[in-house]
Symmetry: C2
Subunit: 535 residues, 2 copies
């Protein structure tokens, strides 16, 4: 497919504006063709209007029809796999095997959401039947279910050109819930974005959906994103990226005349606690796992373990020396963009000058590449400087040695919000540090035992979220089927005739979904007058 | 019980500060004893700190224990019923029968949430079992459930001295979910607030809970509320009141260094559509119902129908004349506070001077009282002036006559967000106006058919919410059991040993709750290795 570099505004193509940019190959340091054109304010407005128009139809489509649409998108992406992986590899320098995996994950996510909306129980249908004889007043029949919010803006993420971009988890969950989507492509992989965008557009057309169901906008900078978030017809947004950009957009969403939900997944250092028994018993194994985790994707994961707490002593020495060997044996990394590379270098330079830090493992590399690096400090120094708990995006981690149990708990209590927190421990450790678990529950969205935080499973129970600043709203997740709840709101129908109710709430339960009837979950229909055979 | 006028800061009493205020009897226009003292900044800070300390314990209490605590609160409130109704009647001028009912509702809400958390399935437990043989990577065991957020601030509402105040729905749902609560009492009914606050405090002590689980702060103005919402240890807030105050607090919550969820139920004019068939067939009946609804509680309900759309013609004349008789026969009303009375008078004066409005029914009253009043206009004038769609708090409503179907739909499409939207229609009307229903679904949280919006049932399916500006976040409700979801967040446990998991997620399902296991809802335990008898 020939790339055109134009935004996709429903079924139309954007104009060749004056604001031009190019993708960049981080491995060869070369510009990639073709030119991409930033969307104009008129195009942004047009995309939002089309989305709002499309919502009237798309928001009322059955779950089965939305499922078919999502599956078509997955098929079309699979049809482009080779081209997609090739272009994404050029634009991101991520290994092809990883990009193959990410394509599969992206399609898997689309199909998982298709399954959720086709089955249909996700709408949390609730029915409280009328009690005409109740005193002092009769109770009317009351039924409620989740309904989509309206047009959703999705921001592509730099570090997942597929799974968190144009047809990533945000788009899949927003479309699944019944919302049109306007994607603001990440300028680091515009070609990958265009390929996926065209696949979605084709699915829109084949399913005879209104063309505003999906638009894709390019922008080299931040203006289009801000304009979209402020647009009165946009009703929610999902973002994965830096804290600075996330907070700016979050504030824009909150300060609109009509504030809207804004889901930002922003920054997380993912504390990892190695408890004494585990460190003794599995020194080398944990060092190996940690190395693999903090350098995975060149350390450019939001779940990268960026601070590691371990007890001082002989095992810690062994652990560190093991880690040193792994780091020194490693290859150099290509980071995603010149901007990320510069930010990483600046952060590392700052840490190298930090008095309380010393380098315990380092891979020297040539200019333009990034080498893995491990710093070390002690618990008291760590507690004194909050900057040491901040995320560095790239292959770096910080070991923090502590001398006793109280220091660990103090560190835990002082943590900000993170996506994950990990504990390595024996059964005995877990018993001795039960209070650590209960502190960490308040600090992170996912707690991991004897594992590593990178690798976020796409499943029903996953929580990829966490208290601020990890995300803008800890009550939601951006990965897994729970992510659909970000883009829906409950609507209640009081005393409606059966024929005027949505299928999900009709007496006979034509969709066969789980519903809460008078407080009890059941799949049974409601017989005329009363309920048959509940439970 | 002798009122002391002091804030309740955990088990301590607030100081007699210099900032003194009194309750007011709207019926007699007299000040009520005793003096109440605004909480100092130190007291506010102390309440937040105690709450944060208490959270470590209270947040981990079992659902059964929290249920027992909530039921104790209900019992203690019932023990004070006479005293409570008497004082609330003095402070609000609301009829005693209404206050009796509100007490029962308040206790009913506490017991309903007790039932929800004792049963336990509300936590949405989800379990995805490990797949050790999965390729290319094994899948770890992943389990998640809802956990409380932390200390919650609740603002008492002027118009519901019990059901939306100290032990109202916000407090009941926040406590049920496991969050300590700091209430900012409404200065219009401080005595009622103190009585209920003491009842809660007594329950805290009897259940041996940390005393920071509950605090009650007085303030004559707005400073305490702002300070609480900005306090770093506060993690969420619930508010019912005016749009101006709600938006100010909402902005304060969003602009904190760590933004927090803020649930404001603010302003709603509750459009009511009378379709042609219904108007013809039930002219007098609908007029009577409308009169009862817009004057209920002297029109001081957030669900008061404040704009009524009906087709021009003979039936509309009959309807108006019927309404006129009802209004003229009515008694005068005492509004809740001098402030509400002044705001009502000012709004009515402005409408009386509005060129496009005319009065069709009015009850003349003496100074200090409020009389029911009905205005009328035509659809074009209504569409021209957005102010006509704004809420007036008090016994007023506006009839809008239209000439055709298209005008109704245009009006509906132009509506802002409301708590409710009501349709009176025959089966035929509903068929002819099916698109009206689908527009209103996007404009309100609750749609009512052939009924009236006042009277919000406390049940599982209720949605008392709606798009902005009706509430700050349309994804949640402040009435009904769904309200508990405002104050909880999901936490995920990856590869945890069974013994370290919360009971809700343990293999054997010791609490017997509904859980989603590998995508299927079941109450079955998980047998060693795999699941027995799902479905």
């Amino acid at each position: 497919m020939e790339l055109k570099g134009r935004s996709l505004i429903g079924s139309q193509e954007g104009a060749a504006t004056r604001d031009v940019f190019y993708a960049w190959n981080p491995r060869t340091n070369e510009q990639l063709q073709p030119a991409f054109y930033s969307a104009s304010e008129e195009e942004i407005d047009q995309a939002a209007r089309l989305a709002a128009e499309a919502f009237a139809t798309y928001g009322r489509l059955s779950g089965r029809d939305r499922a078919a649409f999502l599956r078509s998108i997955a098929e079309k992406i699979e049809g482009l796999r080779e081209e997609l992986v090739e272009r994404a590899h050029q634009e991101t320098a991520l290994p092809k095997a990883r990009l193959e995996g990410e394509t599969a994950r992206t399609c898997g996510q689309l199909r998982l959401f298709a399954q959720v909306v086709e089955e249909g129980s996700w709408v949390m249908a609730r029915i409280d039947r009328a009690q005409p004889d109740r005193k002092p007043l009769p109770r009317p029949d009351i039924r409620s279910m989740l309904r989509p919010l309206g047009p959703v803006v999705v921001f592509g993420a730099s570090n997942f050109p597929l799974a968190f971009s144009v047809a990533g988890g945000d788009t899949a969950s927003a479309l699944a819930a019944g919302n049109p989507v306007v994607v603001k492509a990440h300028p680091a992989h515009p070609g990958t974005s265009e390929l996926v965008g065209r696949a979605i557009r084709q699915a829109v057309m084949e399913h005879n959906l209104p063309d505003g169901v999906f638009s894709l906008l390019f922008d080299r900078g931040t203006q289009a994103g801000i304009s979209l978030v402020k647009h009165p017809l946009i009703k929610a947004a999902g973002f994965t990226g830096s804290h600075r950009a996330g907070r700016a957009l979050m504030d824009a969403a909150a300060n609109r005349p009509e504030p809207i939900p804004f889901f930002a997944e922003m920054s997380s250092t993912n504390p990892l606690f190695i408890l004494p028994g585990a460190l003794r018993e599995r020194t080398a194994q944990i060092a190996e796992g940690l190395y693999g985790s903090f350098t995975l994707g060149a350390g450019q994961f939001c779940t990268k373990p960026g601070m590691v707490f371990l007890p001082d002593g002989e095992s810690a020495h062994q652990f560190t020396s093991q880690l040193r060997q792994l780091v020194e044996r490693a290859d150099a990394f290509d980071l995603l963009t010149p901007g990320i590379r510069d930010a990483f270098s600046a952060s590392i330079r700052a840490r190298l000058q930090h008095r309380a830090l010393r380098v315990v493992a380092e891979k020297p590399v040539t200019t333009g590449k990034a080498g893995a690096i491990v710093f070390e400090t002690d618990a008291s120094s760590f507690l004194k400087d909050p900057e040491l708990a901040e995320e560095i995006f790239g292959p770096e981690t910080l070991l923090v040695r502590h001398s006793d149990r109280e220091q660990i708990l103090e560190i835990a209590r002082n943590l900000g919000g993170h996506l994950t927190a990990t504990i390595h421990g024996t059964e005995q450790d877990l018993h001795d540090f039960a209070d650590l678990v209960s502190i960490l529950e308040r600090k992170a969205g996912r707690l991991i035992f004897n594992g590593f935080p990178t690798g976020v499973e796409v499943c029903h129970a996953m929580v990829h979220g966490g208290p601020y600043p990890a995300t803008s709203d800890s009550r939601f997740t951006s990965v897994g089927t729970l992510a659909i709840f970000r883009f829906a709101r409950p609507v209640c129908y009081q005393a409606f005739p059966d024929t005027a109710l949505p299928d999900e709430l009709k007496n006979e339960n034509p969709l066969g979904i789980w519903r809460m009837i008078d407080g009890e979950w059941t799949k049974e229909p409601i017989a005329a007058g009363h309920l048959t055979a509940v439970r």
